[in-house]
Amino acid sequence: MLESILITIATAATPLLIAAIGELVVERSGVLNLGVEGMMVMGAVTGFGVTVTTGSPWLGVLAAVLVGAAFSLLFGFLTLTLVTNQVATGLALTLLGLGVSGMIGEAFIGMPGIKLGSIAIPILSDLPYVGRFLFRQDPLFYVSILLVAGVAWFLFYTRAGLTLRSVGDNHDSAHALGISVIAVRYGAVAFGGACAGLAGAYLSLVYTPQWIENMTAGRGWIALALVVFASWRPWRVLAGAYLFGAVSIGQLHAQAIGVSVPSQFLSALPYLATIAVLVLISRNRRLTMVNTPACLGRPFVPAR
């Protein structure tokens, strides 16, 4: 019983985790991309569409990643090359993604999807209590954990990660040291887009294998909140995503067993929890001041 709840929490947490860890890298490089929701929903529709036309969920995942990255480069071109306002451009990306995905996805509404199967790791998956939860999961679950570990290692144990963080903390100094600020940021933005696309594919290939318009339902925004919640630390994103997964699965279970609270109120819980968590974190000014990338959201025009 406990194990199956843990597994459902993981399916709710994984898309949040993948999208948030991508956005964390973007924000660490000093760019605020509010288009996560739009890139995610594009990933969802692409993943689903390619999967049902080719019959291969793996091709769907690959296409979703590529489309997510390509879509994010649109944002990158505007904010990095044309130095437009990052907040407004991110919103534009979300509105565009919701519009375009609705249009593309019209052909797929009501079609049965193909679920990405689970992979069981021999021996380990037979462990009592945690075996099924940790070692018999869909492949993207493993990818999400590897992503967190990889990002944590990259940011804090590699030279390239240090470069990326320096660009996010002081782009003028980084530029003076000969680092190409814009190139680093393009890379980070594309990585964030690829992750958001992957997270979207998770929704339409694992979480609910079908296409529903606006199926991301604000998860992209929750992922953005998770990055703040985690104060830009990779492993805390993991904790935050599972906390949110627990909240949303908790409310689903409460609806299923018929708690005498209107279902709409329960459905509102993840959004209210997001607000509550944001307030709790931002109250602690020292914590946010220390960890927020100092150049977050600030435009950079190289001095020549």
């Binding site: 130095v83 019209e106 925004w221 944001l278 931002s282 977050l296 959201g297």
Partner: protein, 372 residues
């Protein structure tokens, strides 16, 4: 070959005026490409989108019906965006206004006199403003990111309205449909020219609001304060302006106007509360605000353009079977082009060959955008 930006010594008056038009033209070209990819004749599609809805009186009225909420919300948002406060939850404030204004005709349907409608409008404004006060207070008090909180509250408002119209507010004589009773005649916002079309007083409210805010922004100290705090919070502090007061002021104004739009929509155009009362006006208004270059008079024009895209979407669906979803994609593209073209106001763009040119003038980085 790569693009290089060269800062203009001062911003270009020419491009401030024409950049929205360049953006519109680029959107049309991109739209034409999109339509031909969808297998439609692009000229036909553009015709149904942008010309057909303008040909008859009744559809001009429909245009006003769609433009009214967009303009009302967007002029409020312009105050927020100018002062660097990012209220993106106008859709929620729209719903909150509709709910608060709907209390009278739904819960007290027996109260029927001429005071009902004015009271509903006031309550609508209050409802929207109160709902916007939540993210504003959280930002002013705890420095909580208003972008995320205001957006989260949109989902909460939608769910709350859904609960109301399926639960306590459901019309007892309504065959179990999820909707409230019809508003009684005293609670309906009158149409301007009932014989000619559906346009109601909402568009008048929108135009008046735009005029007032234009005056406030251009001609008063408050307007100066809004713009100074938006462009340079530091300079604003030296001038003795309070950024945290401005958070409240701008959110209350935009929330109140979104609430007014909400109650005008349900009291005028819809006539009752339903699970869904807006085709995303609160989000489309963000595009309207930027297309109008955050100037209330520009926003009036922009509001009609975006209203046209809604109507054109319907027309193109009926006549050439183009998905109505195309309108949303269209609107998203428009905002992209608008933002991209605005770069021309502050920078000259030129193609540079791989070696960076030697220039002595150092462009100033723009004022930090305090967003996080």
């Amino acid at each position: 070959m790569r693009l290089e930006l060269v800062k203009r010594p001062q911003h270009s008056a020419l491009f401030s005026a024409v950049s929205p038009f360049i953006a519109l033209a680029l959107t049309m070209i991109a739209g034409a490409i999109m339509f031909s990819l969808l297998g439609k004749n692009p000229l036909d599609a553009l015709y149904y989108y942008f010309i057909d809805p303008l040909r008859e009186t009744w559809s001009l009225h429909e245009l006003a019906v769609k433009a009214a909420p967009l303009i009302l919300i967007a002029v409020g948002l312009s105050v927020c965006f100018l002062s660097n406060n990012w209220n993106i939850g106008a859709e929620g404030q729209f719903i909150a206004g509709a709910i608060a204004g709907g209390i009278l005709p739904v819960v007290f349907p027996h109260v029927q006199n001429v005071m009902v409608l004015p009271l509903m409008l006031v309550m609508g404004i209050a409802g929207g403003a109160a709902y916007a006060a939540v993210p504003a207070l959280l930002k002013a008090r705890f420095n909580t990111n208003e972008i995320l909180t205001s957006l989260m509250l949109v989902y909460v408002a939608q769910l709350f309205l859904d609960w109301l119209v399926r639960g306590p507010w459901r019309d007892p004589g309504g065959m179990n449909f999820p909707e409230t009773r019809d508003f009684h005649p005293y609670a309906v916002l009158p149409e301007l020219m009932p014989s000619a079309g559906r346009a109601n007083w909402g568009i008048v409210f929108a135009l008046v609001a735009a005029l007032i805010l234009w005056f406030v922004l251009r001609r008063t100290l408050k307007g100066f304060e809004i713009r100074v705090l938006g462009q340079s919070p530091r300079a604003g502090r030296f001038a003795g302006f309070s950024a945290s007061r401005m958070v409240m002021v701008s959110f209350l104004i935009s929330g109140g106007l979104a609430g007014l739009a909400g109650i005008s929509e349900v009291a005028g155009t819809i006539g009752q509360l339903q699970p869904s009362i807006s085709p995303g006006y609160g989000f489309t208004a963000i595009i309207v605000a930027f297309l109008g270059r955050l100037n209330p008079l520009g926003i009036v024009a922009a509001g009609f353009v975006l209203a046209l895209s809604y109507l054109g979407g319907e027309a193109a669906q009926i006549s050439i079977g183009l998905s109505d979803k195309a309108a949303r994609a269209f609107q998203g593209m428009l905002l992209f082009f608008v933002l991209g073209c605005d770069t021309l106001i502050h920078y000259r763009i030129r193609l540079a060959h791989s070696a960076p040119s030697k220039r002595t003038d150092v462009p100033q980085p723009s004022e930090p955008a305090e967003v996080a």
